[in-house]
């Protein structure tokens, strides 16, 4: 189509018209597959350099440097201290996620069959979601002591709401046509829940768990920060009180590894469970896709 066509509607001059023909996009060199990995490595080096610079500027007392942290990390790993504390934190996070997550996945199925109960509970669930859970930590410590229990309670209270609302939206999003067609084929209510609603809600439950994972670890750590004599939160606290920022960084690095590893596991489990889905981006984790 000529760019300077005569017509009733004056058109903006096409930018292409006055320029030499643009090179075809296809001729541009394709990005090699290793490019992302190389560039990631460059970013890593830059971050570590920045860290080193901060350490040099503020002094290692306030800001430990990468090398010290690495050495200390290996040291802590060797004498079992790090492993012991990591296990403790993981335990709190895991039991809490289980205690909060399992009822959160089941409740939506109960409420689907009992809309009135759902309507009654709705504002309370919304309010429960709204309560800043970390602020409950002192209360949980008061009730459950200073061992694992208050941390489990704290984690559960956070995971429950995240997983519940996510799963609930999955249950509500059930394809009504699937339900009708399966009913016509002889499906009872229980079959509908098991074969139609449940598989459809799984991606939503997973999304809830993926969001909840870092919160679960975080809540366990906060519980330990407030009162504990073990765990990664305790490590951070004792490091900070002793001006031992190296120890603090070791604990922080471990926590980061944990969350990344958990994300990786959840993504892997999700990919296997949801292998029926057409390849797509969206709900599937893109944080860890390499």
């Amino acid at each position: 189509m000529p760019a300077s066509r005569e017509g009733a509607i004056p058109s903006v001059r096409s930018p292409v018209a006055s320029q030499p023909p643009r090179r075809r996009r296809a001729r541009a060199r394709p990005v090699p597959p290793w490019r992302a990995y190389v560039d990631r490595f460059v970013v890593l080096v830059a971050v570590i350099a920045l860290w080193q610079a901060c350490s040099a500027y503020f002094g290692t007392i306030w800001f430990s440097n990468p090398w010290l942290v690495l050495v200390r990390f290996i040291e802590e790993l060797r004498d079992g201290e790090l492993f012991f504390n990591t296990t403790y934190t993981l335990k709190a996070a895991f039991y809490g996620a289980l205690l909060g997550g399992v009822p959160a996945m089941l409740l939506p199925f109960v409420l689907r069959r009992r809309p009135l109960t759902g309507a009654i509970l709705d504002p309370y669930l919304a309010a429960g979601y709204g309560v800043p859970k970390l602020a409950l930590a002192p209360l949980f410590i008061l009730w459950f002591g200073i061992d694992l229990e208050p941390k489990i309670a704290l984690v559960a209270s956070i995971v429950f709401f995240l997983v519940f609302f996510s799963t609930m939206s999955g249950v509500n999003a059930v394809n009504a046509q699937y339900v009708s067609v399966m009913r016509v084929c002889g499906a009872k209510e229980r079959d509908i829940a098991r074969h139609v609603v449940w598989p459809g809600a799984i991606p939503y439950a997973f999304a809830g768990f993926r969001i909840a994972a870092p919160y679960a670890i975080g809540a366990a750590v906060v519980g330990e920060l407030i009162s504990s004599n073990r765990g990664l939160g305790f490590m951070i606290n004792s490091g900070a009180t002793d001006f031992d920022t190296t120890l603090v960084f070791v604990a922080l690095a471990t926590l980061t590894f944990l969350v990344v590893a958990i994300n990786l596991l959840v993504a892997r489990a999700e990919r296997w469970l949801l292998r029926w889905r057409p390849p797509q981006q969206g709900l599937t984790s893109r944080v860890i896709s390499a």
Binding site: N175, Q177, S180, V184, C185, G186, K188, H195, W276, R277
Partner: protein, 266 residues
């Protein structure tokens, strides 16, 4: 061909959806709609888009309720306005092939096709052999372990079709099952359907807006009016079976009937 006693009878069916805010009464979708289907008859219904064809099938399948009228199955009243609750599929006696294939995306082809049989507790060796034969007849053998998204549109349609045929309900409702596929696939699917129907004749109520399809497939064509839908004409199709759909359009009488239906629909 339609001398047998009616297997299904629809009497004075009316449907009005719930009124919207600010509306005294929503318009009628179906009004005083009556017809009969004989056992083993292939009945096609053709009507303009939006005539309420899907609504009619939803009511017969008991996925939706009627505002007025009755439905009889082999002489027994199975649906009326005072029925306490709907019984979708009337105890698996009425199958329903919907416009969308509605295969469950998380189940493989074979698991989709066998699910109704499993839900009804009827999946035995005999049923498995039947499913096997249906898969072969529709060229789906070898794709049993594929998920719906890995199949073509035509394959999904065939899978959806044999999912209902596999559990063998005496009446099968079809709501423009071949609506959303290309012309060649559509012709193939129509031929497949006729062949399957010839194996074991079921009562089929096939709804479409395509006049040619209605004549090509049916023993009898009912013409529905614009909404509110009612039956305004019927045509007996005297083309011998098995039919060769490729040649059909050249046969005497086809063009005349096509033209007659087209006039009535307007």
């Amino acid at each position: 061909m339609t001398t047998a006693a009616p297997i299904l009878e629809v009497k004075g069916l009316a449907k009005r959806f719930a009124a919207r805010a600010g509306e005294a009464q929503s318009p009628l979708i179906l009004a005083d709609l009556s017809f009969q289907v004989a056992d083993q008859e292939f009945l096609t219904m053709v009507g303009p888009s939006g005539a309420g064809k899907s609504t009619l099938l939803n009511i017969i399948a008991q996925v939706d309720s009627a505002s007025d009228g009755e439905i009889y199955f082999r002489g027994d009243l199975i649906e009326s306005t005072d029925a306490a609750a709907l019984n979708p599929g009337w105890n698996c006696q009425i199958g329903y092939v919907t416009q969308d294939d509605n295969l469950l995306p998380w189940r493989t082809l074979i698991d989709n096709v066998t699910l109704p049989l499993k839900l009804q507790g009827r999946y035995d060796d005999e049923a498995a052999a039947r499913v096997e034969a249906l898969l072969r007849a529709t060229n789906l053998t070898g794709f049993e372990r594929y998920y719906p998204h890995e199949l073509s549109g035509g394959m999904r349609k065939r899978a959806s079709l044999i999912r209902t045929l596999a559990y063998d309900p005496p009446i099968i409702l079809m709501d423009e099952p071949f609506g959303a596929v290309d012309a060649q696939t559509r012709a193939q699917l129509q031929q497949d359907l006729l062949r399957l129907w010839n194996y074991g004749r079921k009562t089929i109520i096939f709804v479409t807006h395509d006049i040619g399809e209605a004549i090509a497939l049916g023993d009898r064509v009912l013409v529905l009016s614009r909404s509110p839908a009612k039956v305004i004409a019927q045509h007996h199709v005297d083309i011998a079976r098995p039919r060769d759909l490729g040649n059909l359009y050249k046969l005497d009488g086809f063009g005349d009937m096509f033209e007659a239906v087209r006039q009535q629909i307007q």
